[in-house]
Symmetry: C2
Subunit: 200 residues, 2 copies
């Protein structure tokens, strides 16, 4: 009989269900979790359980928070007249790292994707419309991903926003800073040409 530990197999199996984790990584991580000292093992499990039970969606922007409102929506120094619409909570983290954006966010929690059976009603679009109807919003920046689904979702929402008379913008396309022109794809290069600006 080969070497089998049912409890271990189950653990490895659970790790394999995580995105981007193949079998070898799952084995490595399962053993790492087993080898953790008592205190670290407890801290790891507690962090997961705590986060899963305490983190919910912000009542305003639908971003993840452990309070009633997220720290952006409850901060007095953020500009609530500008809403940056993103697909996922991790996109908010990416924008916050730029330290450049001082407006508020709205997290859709996905994109419209008929292939995956995700329609507009599964996203937080209704909550966005409610905000725009009730708050004093001047600009909505559509910051969904530059993918087919992201573009379609941005177009869909911008049409819904038309009647509100609010300004709707889209993130600029172009070559990534620090990147190499040689490796840029045609579509990106074309977009960056179209969006070129004058050097002053």
């Amino acid at each position: 009989m080969a070497y089998r530990v049912a409890t271990l197999d189950k653990l490895i199996e659970q790790w394999e269900r995580l995105p981007g984790i193949g079998h070898k990584s799952a084995v490595r991580l399962a053993f790492a979790v087993l080898a953790m000292p008592e205190e670290q093992g407890k801290a790891f499990v507690d962090a997961i359980v705590d986060a899963r039970s305490n983190i919910k969606e912000c009542a305003i922007c639908c971003n993840l928070t452990d309070g009633e409102q997220c720290s952006v929506c409850s901060a007095p120094d953020r500009d609530t007249s500008v809403i940056c619409v993103v697909e996922e909570p991790r996109d908010v983290l990416a924008f916050e790292r730029t330290r450049e954006f001082h407006g508020s966010y709205h997290v859709l929690h996905g994109t419209i994707s008929p292939m995956d059976g995700i329609g507009p009603e599964q996203l937080r679009i209704k909550q966005l419309l409610t905000r725009i109807a009730n708050e004093d919003v001047e600009e909505v920046i559509m910051a969904t991903n530059p993918t087919v689904e992201g573009e379609a979702t941005a177009m869909y929402i911008s049409k819904l926003l038309k009647p509100f008379g609010v300004k709707v913008t889209r993130l600029a396309y172009g070559i990534p800073v620090g990147g190499d022109l040689e490796f840029a794809d045609e579509v990106t290069l074309r977009r960056s040409l179209e969006g070129r600006s004058e050097l002053l």
Copy 2:
């Protein structure tokens, strides 16, 4: 104020402590764990807690098991006259995948590494000597990693085994020097088993 969720920061921090997981992977995995449906989230945490509390070392070979003896040591069809000595439990999984080895194992749980303050007494060497003194062992295959520490540990143990008159062999260099057994493919491992040589 920037976007901060203390519970989420703590979760990301815990993920970053895992080997080979950088900040971006930690963020991705933390959000994946948060997004798990109720049932999957519970299964994931349960698998970790169960494994950590139930898995212990086999009374014979020191490999991980959730019983008293591991499934290799308690199997009637394994050849107990050959012991394959490995560093870590994951190395046993690698050998079992070759379906080529039908002997038993002995897991050292590390290598002698003075730099990290790990001496022979921290490894399961005493248990190996006890087995060889009491069981009818004909051959010990030193299957530690082809690293400086792995080689040194193999040499150290082979010297200890001299008085027992048991044949001590070493895996052939089919395994890439400086590599890690865990990542070796089945064919390479099989070749290195076939070409094993005696340590003199």
